[in-house]
Symmetry: D2
Subunit: 122 residues, 4 copies
Amino acid sequence: MQEGLETLRQELAEFAAERDWEQFHTPKNLAMALAGEVGELAAELQWLTDEEIRQGLATGVLRQRVAGEVADVFIYLLRLADVCGIELLSAAHAKVVENRVRYPVEKARGNARKYDELADEE
Amino acid sequence: MQEGLETLRQELAEFAAERDWEQFHTPKNLAMALAGEVGELAAELQWLTDEEIRQGLATGVLRQRVAGEVADVFIYLLRLADVCGIELLSAAHAKVVENRVRYPVEKARGNARKYDELADEE
Amino acid sequence: MQEGLETLRQELAEFAAERDWEQFHTPKNLAMALAGEVGELAAELQWLTDEEIRQGLATGVLRQRVAGEVADVFIYLLRLADVCGIELLSAAHAKVVENRVRYPVEKARGNARKYDELADEE
Amino acid sequence: MQEGLETLRQELAEFAAERDWEQFHTPKNLAMALAGEVGELAAELQWLTDEEIRQGLATGVLRQRVAGEVADVFIYLLRLADVCGIELLSAAHAKVVENRVRYPVEKARGNARKYDELADEE
């Protein structure tokens, strides 16, 4: 894992250990916490138009809020991966490789259908 | 941003650009996709006990499934941060600093109350 | 509770009991299942424009898919409320009463700010 | 639809119309709001054990909080179904019928595998 991500992973592990929070950090509990944080992120954007979001991200308060929620999601995701013994970057790279096969450029271009529905069009 | 994460961010941006998917990758749409992937992650764990999860992660199929879902969450999170112009590692580090203040070791030890409820006990 | 909802609540309780699924239907597990189903609902809509959704709901396949996901969310929500001893309609009515106070028509009209932010404008 | 649910549906529609909120209540926005509320529900339960939840639901504060979140989920779900022209109880009944076929008692008893994995064991 890259240094920045590895440093953060260690910081989060120490943060939990110092507070005796490892007892709470089971995979299920962390998955629920992740759902909670993604919900908070959705709540920041839910009533805004794309244009309002674009402006809000450019000028300030919304940007700080979204950055805070994105950070919370990332923290719980990294912590969940850690307690599961999963290395985030490796898992993501494996998925990108898989997605290149599932979504060939020529078939996927300009449409957002799921890979198992792309085949129907052959 | 660290090299590994930065490389992945670029790969995801190119992946979207090659497929003309940038039109779909608005902050709102990506936040919904994130909720979808976190839901799939929760679905992998929802009926299992902590012990079943521990064993499943050690021995195989569950590990692969959870790794795949964790990867999907990470990919959409990194992509969302990117289109919002937010740098994931910086945002996470800022949040860790904030959390050290919100959750002082001596008050937070062994309990999982939210920071705005910790103060009630002084 | 109204007859239709009460009948469904009983059917779901029997469905679980017949399959010896009560052991799985803890509040936490059902909350995770709910997150999973809401994620599937989001996934049906995430890449579509409002206009595409309007047309899709009118003409067929999308309508069936969304109805199926909405049903799944409802089923887990009703089941969760039941195992928690919470009566859905009563809880919802109490919340509507609360929301009438939180969001007075004259202040809330045409804006989607949260109630604790409406006060800032007085 | 049953009277209680139908009354609530109408109240929610009027609540939105009086506040000129129909413009915000698109299917996508309501699906995001639903994800937000399910996240808040998960957050109430995420660090508690099953036994702590059982006690908390019996004695008070947790019961009120969970009831409030369950109500919020229900309100957005009913509102989403309404703007999509989907009748919640009918959709749920159709799904229960489907689930009786997918999960025959003798095969599903005591295990929580998904229907498409039950077949593997024949």
